[in-house]
Every structure is written in C-alpha cells, then in structure tokens.
C-alpha cells in the first residue's frame, strides 16, 4: 500500500492506495502555524488500524519550505558570490549577509581571475561574528566550472554547519537564479531537516521503516533524505500534485487544461498528449526567480473562499482570502456562499450566505439570487480568460532554431479537467459558458493526494563537452573527465544517460521504471581562423515526470 499526502492552504488531503484502488481517504485541517503537526496528524489518521508492514511507499507534498520563505521565517544565512564582469552582483542581493568577492570564470569555463583567499577568510570571520551557520557559495558560470565555489568552501571548511554550492542546484545557466536557488536551499535547510527528522521519528515509532519520498515542483519525487541537501527542490509542489492526479485521466493525442480549484487559489496547467509542460527555467517565489525545475502552472487568486468586492459597480473576486466562507462561519461573502444561495450545496446554513450577500446585491442593484449568479459567473469567466492568456503566452515562447520554429507546436486545448473542493459546480458552469468539453478528474476531492502518491522519481542532468579544451563536464553531478578530439555526440549522450540513471536511482527511482529522454542535444563545430578546432557539445536529459508503473492497474479502478 502507498500513502500520498498533499498539504493545501485549507485542507491536507491524505489517501491510502493499494492495487484495488483507494483504501482510505481523509482530510485534515491545515494548521499553517504548525505544519509538522498537520502532516503527522494526517499520517497517523490514515494509518490507523493498518498494518504498518503493508505500507511500501509514502509520498509527501508539503508547503513547509514554501511558507517559510513567503513568511520570511528563515534563519540568517551567508551568501558569497563571485561574479566577475557583467551586471553588478549587488543587484542580485538576496539577503543581508551578501558578499560579492573577486574571481571570474568565462562562458567556456576558463578561469579569468583568481579567488582571493584573504578576502574569503575575512568574510568568513564576519559571517561567524554575525552568528551565521549556513553559507551559500555561488559563482558566475559555475555550471561550466565549479572550481571557484569548491575553493571558497575549502577555505572556509569546518567554520560553518553547512555549505550550499551554486553548481549543485542546476546545470542551467542563469547567475541570478542560481544565487536565489542556493539562497533558498541554505535558508530552508534547518526547517526542512527538522521536519525530516520529525516525520522519520514518527514513522519509525509506528514501525514503518520505509523510505519517504517528497514531491517536487516538477511533478516527480525524490527521497526525503536526498532532499536534505537540496531542500529548495521541495518548494511549491502543490500544483504538481494536482497535475499528476489529473494526468492519467487526460485525453491522448490532445491538449487539456487542468484547473485545481481550491479555497484560496485556482491553479492552472496544461497537458499535451498526457504530458505536463515543464517551465523552461524554474519557479518564481517571493519575488525571486529560481532554477528549481517545475511544471508550468499558473496560480490565480480565485478560489471558493476568495473575498468578493464591488468596486465602482465592478465585481472583483479575490485575490485574497480571509478565512472561511460565511456559511462555514466566516465574516466575508465568498463564491462558496454564492453556491449556497444558488442552492448547489446541501446541509448548509444558506441564511448566513443570504445575509452576507445583501450589501453586494444592493451595490449591484439586483436581487440576492441574481447577485450570486453574477458573482459565480464572473469568477468562472475570469478563470477561463486567464487560462487562455496562459495558452497564448506558451504559444509565443521564443524558440532557437529554424527547425523548431517551423515545427512549432501550437497548444490548442479543447478540454478542461477540473478538480478540487468545489469542482463539480465550476465544471458545470464552464461547460455552459464555453466551447470546451469539461470533465471532473476522477476522485476530484483527493486527486492531488493520489497524484503525489503515484508520482515517479524524476531528475535532470546537463553534460557539456568542449573538445578544443579536452573537457567533458557535468558539475551538478560532480563529473569531470578529460576527452580527446575524437569524442563524439553519441558518446556524450550515452554518458549523460548513465549519469541520469545513476542519479535517478540514488534519489529514489526504481531502476526498472525510468522513462528517459533528451531535452537538449546540440553540437557546434568550433572554428578558429577558418579551421575547425573542436566541437562544443551540449546534452541535457531527464527522467520524464509520470506515474509509477506498478500501480497503473489502480487507475482504472479509481476512475470506475
């Protein structure tokens, strides 16, 4: 049996699955001030009366790291940044203890200017005096040559609790994002580690000595232990859980929109022939753009509990939320109250909703029932408009070769799949007001937790060969080798795949269940003075986000 747990803004959903389908599904209230308690309560409740020996896999999707960043509840960390010429690194400052230092590496990974050990020592002393225990070290072009980052760590070794090096967060180029990502890793490390220890202890006490997996924003998992060094990878996994929950039921050979309508937000995503789109660079969180791999999704501040306002006769739903809907004891009217007035909800106190809608109705100059309909219709139309904007944005994404432009795939979804608490009511109305075919994701109330439970371990590797310099390197994987001039792209691809498989298994994948593909495969002749002097090869490969094969059989059962 496997457990999937997804922490949401309002509820935390937990499911227990076996090959027969859903054994048990529960919801616990999310206590944002104590997520440890929320998660442990969810796990305890779902395993009640279950033999711990029967549980083989646990996947958690939590908002712990996301929240600590958004709320700024992170400890002081030190950032040491070696830039060299270019944009002033102070413009990329992430936090108070942020120190640009000497040292420079160019686009081919050649050392241009050395690190100054005295400067590093002196910054080390300053950081220690300031009580900093976690240090991020980031160099420009360290994804091509990590030697400066390694050297700085060597100089400061034994002086701090933990170091986070920029070249380990991603093989992609983007100095500013590398800085932000490394900062996130350092900043959420302590809370993430405490969380790991708490969950581990709790499971051990219950006799569940099995690996725990944690969901990432790219819709894949990694084992909890491996994530300790890269806690930033666990940021923002919520939308991914829902997308994975919908993916198995989406149409083949067709594009579909996924709407996860929660209390606070509606998360939107696109599936192309059952495959979720990856964001080309990474997550943006708290004003920082990162290199954290992520599924492409868009979060809109419209949910069942969004605040409704009438400003100059115009309806505004969200983007904020102030507690519950009035029918559940809140103070402000919400779309959920509108649904109650429309008679869609059973066993609720519609009286409260009517009362809450009086001022809205009078501002709109219509009866309360009409106002409720207008509000609900407005929210649905807004969601559709934003979804279309997202599709247009994806279709206008720049591409880099003639071939791609000519073959440029245009996303044209004709189907919408809805999940989340109020999914059925929204789905019904979407169908009414648009030309889309609209369906509910099977088990729409907990599809997100099912998605987390069934997600496969994913990862990515980048490999870079420069035969003129005789170098083959993948800094992210701590891989470096000398190569001769006859090195080929075919060899590079094979090595990239080997590195990828190794990394996948290390981080929790089943070696029998790896779906791998090339993301980038480019080779350039390097010409100097009208002679070919070498080859510049760039390979990127990934384990595709997807669902674990062993549990394919239950998908049919779930949709029945």
């Amino acid at each position: 049996m496997i457990i999937g747990l997804d922490v949401g803004g309002t509820h935390t959903d937990v499911v227990l699955l076996d090959k027969q389908g859903i054994v048990k599904e529960i919801k616990v209230h999310t206590d944002a001030t104590n997520l440890f308690k929320t998660v442990l309560a969810g796990l305890e409740k779902i395993t009640l009366d279950i033999n711990p020996k029967d549980i083989k896999r646990i996947v958690l999707s939590t908002t712990l790291t996301t929240n600590s960043i958004i709320q700024g509840k992170t400890p002081e960390v030190g950032m040491i940044v070696s830039s060299g010429p270019g944009i002033d690194p102070m413009l990329f400052q992430t936090n108070k203890h942020f120190y640009p230092v000497a040292g420079s590496i160019d686009h081919r990974g050649r050392r241009i200017e050395k690190i100054d050990p005295d400067e590093i020592q002196s910054i080390g002393r300053k950081l220690k005096n300031e009580g900093v225990r976690y240090v991020g070290i980031v160099g420009k072009f360290s994804a091509r040559n990590p030697s400066h980052e390694l050297e700085i760590r060597r100089i400061l070794r034994n002086q701090f609790d933990e170091f986070f090096l920029g070249h380990r967060v991603s093989g992609n180029l983007n100095f500013q994002r590398r800085i932000a990502t490394t900062f996130f890793d350092a900043a959420v490390f302590p809370v993430h580690k405490r969380f790991y220890l708490a969950v581990r202890r709790s499971l051990d006490q219950q006799g569940m000595n099995i690996p725990i997996q944690i969901l990432k924003a790219d819709g894949g998992t990694m084992n909890f232990e491996s994530s300790i060094g890269f806690p930033g990878q666990t940021i923002f996994s919520g939308p991914a859980a829902s997308i994975m929950g919908a993916m198995a039921f989406s149409p083949k050979e067709e594009d579909a929109l996924i709407f996860d309508i929660g209390g606070t937000t509606t998360d939107m995503a696109i599936l192309i022939n059952q495959v979720p789109l990856l964001d080309p660079l990474g997550i943006e969180l708290g004003g920082y753009k990162t290199l954290i791999r992520s599924l492409k999704s868009k979060s809109l501040g419209i949910g069942g509990d969004s605040v409704i306002r009438i400003i100059d006769g115009q309806i505004q739903v969200g983007p904020d939320r102030e507690g519950f809907a009035m029918i559940y004891g809140g103070n402000k009217p919400t779309p959920t109250d509108a649904l109650a007035i429309m008679g869609k909800l059973e066993d609720v106190d519609t009286e409260k909703a009517f009362k809450g809608f009086e001022s809205i109705a009078s501002k709109l100059g219509v009866p309360v029932e009409k106002a409720a309909n207008m509000i609900f219709d407005h929210a649905c139309r807004k969601i559709l408009t934003e979804a279309e904007k997202m599709v247009n944005e994806i279709n206008s994404k720049p591409v880099y070769t003639v071939h791609e432009l000519q073959e440029g795939y245009q996303v044209k979804p004709k189907k919408i799949m809805v999940l989340g608490g109020p999914a059925p009511y929204f789905a019904e109305h979407f169908e009414k007001i648009s030309d889309y075919r609209v369906t509910l994701v099977p088990r729409w109330k907990v599809a997100n937790a099912i998605g987390a439970a069934l997600a496969r371990t994913t990862c990515e590797v980048s490999l870079f060969a420069d035969t003129e310099r005789g170098i083959l390197t993948s800094p992210e994987e701590k891989y470096k080798k000398n190569i001769s001039t006859d090195f080929t792209r075919e060899k590079a691809i094979k090595i990239a795949f080997d590195l990828l498989k190794h990394k996948a298994v290390e981080t929790g994948a089943d070696s029998e269940d790896l779906e791998i593909e090339l993301l980038e495969d480019q080779q350039f002749n390097m010409v100097r003075g009208f002679h070919t002097t070498g080859k510049n090869i760039r390979i990127k490969a990934q384990v595709k986000p997807g669902l674990i094969h062993r549990y394919q059989s239950i998908l049919q059962k779930i949709s029945d």
Binding site: D88, H107, L173, F175, K397, L405, Q406, V527, H531, N536
Partner: protein, 443 residues
C-alpha cells in the same frame, strides 16, 4: 529585482542550424557564446525586457525593397525569412508601443544586400533593416527614418537602397574603405541627384578606439540627427569594430559600444556583423542590451580589456576630426549638392553604370541605373541588370511618395520592357504597395 528604465524588446534568433558553409565566419556557432552570456546574466529575467518570437517575413515584405533575380526563393533561405522577420517583430513592438526600444539579435545579417539581388555579398542576401523599415512605412505610415550603421564594414547595401531616398538618412561609420571590404564608403559618396546629403559616410582610420567613435557620434552624428528629425532611428549594430575582431582592424570595446548605444538612443537596433564570437560578442551584446534598457553597464568588461593597449594615436584622432568636418560640410551643403547633380541630367534623367561583385557567391553584375530628376519626390528609378549567371532583367522602382510624373514614367518603363534583351521585368509601385513582374522569355 532588476528593472529596465526603458522597456526593451529583444528577439534572439541565433539560427543554430544555419551556416554559409561549415568553416565560414557566418556559422552556427556565431551567437553560441553570446547566448551563454545573455542566459547567465539573466537578461531575459529583467523586468521590462521582453523576449519576442521572431515573425517570418512574407514575399511581399521582401518585394517592397528587393528585386530578387530570378526570384526570392533562389536567393533566400528560411533563415533569411526569419532573420528579417525578427527585425520586423521588433519594429512592430516599438511602433505598437509595447516597448520603447528593441534589439533584433538575429543572423544572417543584411547590410551588404543591395536593391537588386543576384546572390550573396558580404555574407548578406537580403537587407533585413530595409525590409523592416519599408514594412513599417507601409503598415504604420512612418515618414522620415534615420539609419546609423555602426558595423565596421561600409553598409554599401543599405546605401544603395536609400541612395535616392531623401526621407531616409543613412549614416555609415566604418573602417576606411582603402583598408577593408567592400572598399567603398568614402565621404564623397553622398546620394543621388534627388537625395544628395541624406547618405553620409564616415570612414574612420584603422585603430580608432572608443574615444574616436564616441567623438564622432557626439560631434557629427547626433547634430545631424537633431536637424533631420527622424521619426525612427535604426542602428545597424555590427560588432566587428571590436579590438578582438579577426577580420577588421579597429579598437572599439564592449563598454564603448554600450556608451555609443546610450548616446545614440536608437529606437531599434539590428545585429549586423561581428566575428570575434568569444572575446567580443558576449560582452558587446550584453552591453548594448543593458544600455538600451537604461541599465548600468559600467561593470561590463572583456576578460582581456586593457584601455592602454587599445588607445588611439594622436594621428588617428586628428584624422577623425578631419573626416567629421568634411561630413558636416556635406550635410550642410546638401541643397547645393543636389542642384549640382541635377544639372548633370540629360533629358531629365541621370544615369550611372556599375559593376557589382558578389564575393560570397562569386557573381558579377552589371547595372545601368537611370533616375528621373525630381523636386517633388524620390524619383522613378529604372535598373537594367545583367549577371554572369545569365540573368538579364529590368527593374523599375516607383517610390512611396512618388509624384504623378514619376508614377507615369515608372509605369511606362515597365510596360515598354520587351524580351530583347530582358528575360523578366519587375515593377515596385510603392504608391500602391504593389509588386508586378512579367516573364519575357521567348517560347
């Protein structure tokens, strides 16, 4: 988060699968390190910098400017349609006020491509700036345009296209033609009888450094632009004046390019040449983008930058000042210059004969060009062109603002054209934004 002071649009189209031939300077690898640098600097993440997908130009867009012989398909590849399309995309974004300015980082380049195209010259097949400008004129009714060509090579293609157009000011700064391809661009090349003085050439001596370029921009180019009052300023932003460029002899730096960009304040920049693909382009392009966006570029520097090593000599400085004086004098006496040239007319027409060599494709073209002298418009143009490929065609151009007399003359030339000696006749009637062609081959 970093925020641009001027909203800036970018098209980045490195054509990673296109080269003239595998070891040619104009090859796949050319913008590879620029891409690395731009990505690592996170340029596309800057608030206010928008990256656009390049459009593809249409045959109509090309036919506004060029007479492709025998037709567009023979002289263009997909990459040319996209490269010109990238410039067009930026032009549209600027005129629709989505951005204040923009840079088309595209290849292949275009400033050596002339009005008639039999093949490739100087790595160029079609003139991507001209295609963009004439599209903008047709679509948005733009009038006066200034092009400042800062490529190290004389922009002889752009000069040819706008030689007779008084509404397009073309200023080219380049290494002296006695020392570099294409061997033209001297101060006495100043435009035809209807447009003398709106073509201005500023040949700079070899080893001109930042000082000389910036002096020329401030003291020659900017005053002329102020007087001309263009609605749009285009920068043909070649990057081969860089001190590390392998095929030129100048001493310009990345920071110098950024300063030039911030002085010139072009609405649209279009990449031209530049073949120091590792030592210059990554830094020059980053500098240009930051300068366009109004951001600090003071920390942009090449790894081997040494201002002492590239400083220009006093002789070079003196020569530059002399050239500047000559150019300003030409500009100030443009009316007299036009009158003088118009006096040379026979029966109201001025003719010139030219031999044009297409170095990239090894083609030689012979041109007889005839223009109707006109005080009311740019004047109708008749070009009798033959090449050693065996092609022989007649090309007639009626300018966008043509007077009735020039429209009539252009029509007459086109109608008169017969199969002896022509295989084909073309007519660009820009007053109607229409292109006509007729096949004259005898069966």
């Amino acid at each position: 988060m970093l925020q641009a002071k001027r909203k800036t649009g970018l098209v980045f189209f490195p054509a990673f699968d296109w080269a003239i031939d595998p070891t040619h300077p104009e090859r796949e690898e050319r913008l590879l390190y620029t891409q690395d640098q731009v990505l690592e600097e996170g340029i596309f993440d800057i608030e206010g910098i928008t990256e656009y997908k390049p459009d593809i130009v249409t045959i109509n867009d090309v036919n506004r400017i060029h007479f492709c012989v025998p037709d567009c398909w023979h002289v263009m590849t997909e990459s040319h349609f996209i490269s010109a399309g990238g410039a067009k995309t930026i032009g549209m974004a600027v005129l629709e006020k989505k951005v204040e300015c923009g840079f088309a980082l595209v290849r292949p380049p275009g400033h050596h491509a002339m009005r008639v195209v039999h093949g490739a010259r100087g790595f160029c097949n079609v003139n991507i700036e001209a295609i963009m400008i004439e599209f903008l004129r047709a679509a948005y009714g733009i009038g006066k345009v200034a092009i400042v060509d800062t490529d190290c090579h004389h922009g002889d293609g752009t000069q040819d296209i706008y030689w007779h157009d008084p509404n397009t000011l073309f200023i080219s700064l380049h290494q002296d033609g006695r020392t570099l391809y294409p061997g033209s661009g001297f101060t006495n090349e100043a435009g035809g009888p209807n447009a003398a003085g709106t073509t201005l050439n500023i040949p700079l001596p070899p080893y001109t450094s930042d000082e000389g370029f910036l002096y020329t921009i401030e003291n020659v180019v900017l005053p002329i632009l102020d007087e001309f009052k263009p609605e749009l300023i285009i920068n043909s932003a070649g990057q081969d004046n860089h001190y590390s460029d392998p095929i030129t002899n100048m001493n310009f730096s990345a920071k110098g390019y950024a300063e030039l960009t911030s002085l010139l304040k072009a609405d649209i920049a279009v990449l031209e040449g530049g073949y120091s693909i590792e030592g210059a382009l990554p830094y020059v392009n980053t500098g240009i983008i930051l300068a366009m966006a109004g951001l600090d570029y003071s920390k942009i520097r090449e790894p081997d930058f040494n201002p002492e090593k590239i400083r220009q000599s006093p002789q070079v400085t003196a020569q530059i000042k002399e050239v500047g004086k000559t150019v300003l004098a030409t500009w100030r006496t443009r009316e007299q210059l036009r009158e003088q040239l118009q006096k040379t007319a026979k029966n109201g027409f001025v003719e010139r004969m030219r031999r044009i060599y297409y170095d990239t494709d090894g083609i030689t073209e012979l041109q007889k060009e005839k223009i109707q002298v006109c005080r009311d418009c740019g004047g109708a143009i008749r070009i009798d062109t033959s090449a050693d490929t065996g092609s022989h065609v007649l090309a007639v151009h009626i300018p966008i603002d043509a007077c009735d007399k020039c429209i009539e003359q252009g029509q007459q030339w086109y109608e008169e054209a017969g199969s002896d000696p022509f295989q084909k006749a073309f007519l660009q009637n820009r007053t109607k934004d229409k292109f006509f062609e007729k096949n004259l081959l005898r069966r």
